[in-house]
Symmetry: C3
Subunit: 288 residues, 3 copies
């Protein structure tokens, strides 16, 4: 580790002090740490959103220890874990699927361990704030150069909890995909990239139709029906564009986002509100 170790930090704690308490704990142990706040406004308990944001951010951070806490199961028997990645980062957080997509973006998991070294925890461990009592101090101990092997016993990688991440499927000239995230602009990020779109629609068309199946959040249950037969929304017309400013203000556009994945935007507007979708919704795109 360098003299100023980097600690990436993501939670759903909000902005009212819980993240600062963890920062204080980390700085008390690793006084020279450079804490990089990734986000603390992840939707409450939204593990898929947290996993998406963590995976999006960590490849751009210097190699370091990254702590992520979106943890509805805090204090239950869900495991606290650390993942050593091929790039050399360590990811620290709950074993609920939050960390694995980020590990994938960092070359994959080299070793997984249970956080069990109580000497690195705070002396008193509460049932409701493992961010402060376990994750932050363990990360700080690693940041000052202590050994990953000392965090606790090895965990079988197949036993790690995995999220059900949306995927893209090409069928009958249609791309069926899912919403991986809605960003703060209201841009709707999708599984799959331009290659899948071309496979579905042929050479990318200037016009496409977007069909939204039932939104799992809006409807209160996971969408299961085929988007093609869903009756939930009329098709919306969109054009393929390189960037927002190439569409007319207010128009829907499909574009390849800065991670190389498909996304839907409204030029100078909010596509998620227009389409009424959130993370996990199913969307189909066909020739318009």
């Amino acid at each position: 580790m360098s003299e100023r170790p980097v600690i990436g930090f993501l939670t759903d704690f909000g902005l009212d002090g819980a993240a600062a308490i963890c920062r204080g704990v980390m700085l008390s142990i690793a006084r020279d740490a450079q804490i990089v706040d990734i986000s603390h406004t992840v939707a409450k308990y939204a593990i898929p959103d947290g996993a998406y944001l963590l995976a999006s951010a960590v490849p751009w951070l210097p190699i370091g220890v990254h702590v992520a806490v979106v943890d509805p199961g805090v204090g239950t028997d869900r495991r606290p874990i650390g993942l050593l990645t091929a790039r050399g980062d360590v990811l620290i957080g709950p074993d609920n699927g939050l960390l694995l997509p980020a590990a994938g973006r960092l070359g994959g998991v080299i070793a997984a361990r249970l956080l069990a070294n109580r000497e690195w925890f705070l002396p008193a461990t509460s049932a409701t704030f493992h961010g402060r009592d376990i994750f932050a101090p363990v990360a700080a101990h690693l940041a000052i150069g202590e050994s990953f092997g000392d965090v606790g016993p090895a965990v079988d990688q197949p036993s790690l909890v995995r999220l059900d991440v949306p995927s893209a499927k090409v069928e009958n000239g249609r791309l069926d995909t899912g919403v991986t995230y809605v960003d703060s602009f209201g841009n709707v990020r999708l599984a799959g990239g331009a290659a899948e779109l071309v496979a579905a629609l042929g050479p990318i068309e200037l016009c496409a139709e977007i069909i939204v199946a039932t939104d799992p959040v809006a409807s209160g249950s996971p969408a299961t029906g085929s988007p093609a037969t869903g009756s939930s929304a009329p098709a919306a017309r969109a054009t393929w564009q390189r960037t927002f400013g190439e569409a007319t203000t207010g128009d829907l556009l499909v574009y390849e986002d800065s991670s190389g994945n498909l996304a839907i935007a409204v030029s100078n507007g909010d596509a998620a509100r227009r389409l009424r979708v959130s993370t996990g919704a199913r969307i189909s795109i066909r020739r318009g």
Copy 2:
């Protein structure tokens, strides 16, 4: 002070630049300061909320200078003060009750002084932005090692403004308490701890009834009536739990929070919204 002095920083300035201006002022004087933002989204003018958050956070920060500004009286004759605490921290802010609870968590006040050394202020002092003109630069001067004795004349501790902090009272098998804070999850933090609950209800019961008296904010005036006779809300049923995930999703639970105080949550939900309470509301808990 260490080579990288810590400055904790809490305001109700929001996220649109006023806090950054203060950070700029501090870094211009104390270039190596490690500023730890505690929160800048304290509800506007909400001194009790700011005091709660500051007191919650500073014990976990490294020893340092901590600046807090929730200051509806800026520019009036309310005093700007500094408090030296037993732990060795200095708290800087307005004399409106904001700092004293934090000082209590740091071992108490050793010395209180008026901020009156104009050489440490910015050259021009506005009437509306003492965060920038007085509090930030004074904190930065202390952070670079200048002496607390030089901030200004001593202030009589009994003259310091104190908040009326909610307390817990056990009576007739009932715990009467008050809401000290509602966190960003909607968890309702209360005065008193598990011991008080046991004193009121006997061995902690699996079921409790929660009765909300008039909410001072909702009703526009401080609650004065006894919760037991309040007609404002029906009793809500809750169970005692160690942590959120042990209750059924959507159920109310009473738990001991990570500071050792009582709190009410909804598993994967928002208890403050459910109970319609905010800081200062009075709540009773009895056997359910």
Copy 3:
């Protein structure tokens, strides 16, 4: 540059990770940079708001490189630019008017250059995230001491895009002015200062009338009519005060803000909500 170069950073990216990705990119190049987040919650695409906040903040930051990204035209032919200022700062961002007011507060532009040195960009440049791919890495290269002359070719200063900034006009005992910004307290910041108000009203009166012309945002089009003849709102009564706490809670006050400009507040309240105005609205003040 000092050993810990300062990078000011302002965007409309929100709080969900895009700003953190840029921070990661900057720290990967300039590991010791002290990044000062100015704001990331600028209203989406609101170049005037971003320009106001950047100009308000940078004079208080240590001399450094300051990156600002409010960039609805990202990926189109709008130019990426750098401005060297008289104070010694460099401003980095899109050529859409965002940077020039800040440059004015830093002594003016000494040299303007196109960002065209692809060796300083990230290897792959997306069409939608120049914050990450161009602005952040260029700023970091400057922060580690590389030469401003190497960012790219000179740009003619008259060709730089300029915003239409509201101004104040005194006429017939009336001050006609415009809303430059609404801060997070709801305080309405105006063009012009106390001198202009005195010129319009004579010795500052205890009472004034505030007349709001059509709000461009509320009405969906720029206000064009004269406020004096506007029928959009009745006059609101306000008093002149030094600071918020000198007015009765809930009353409107006109004051000189901490930048020396006029502003309207509600004591312990939200003036923008009361007056229903946002950035760009036209407001008249006359004797009440």
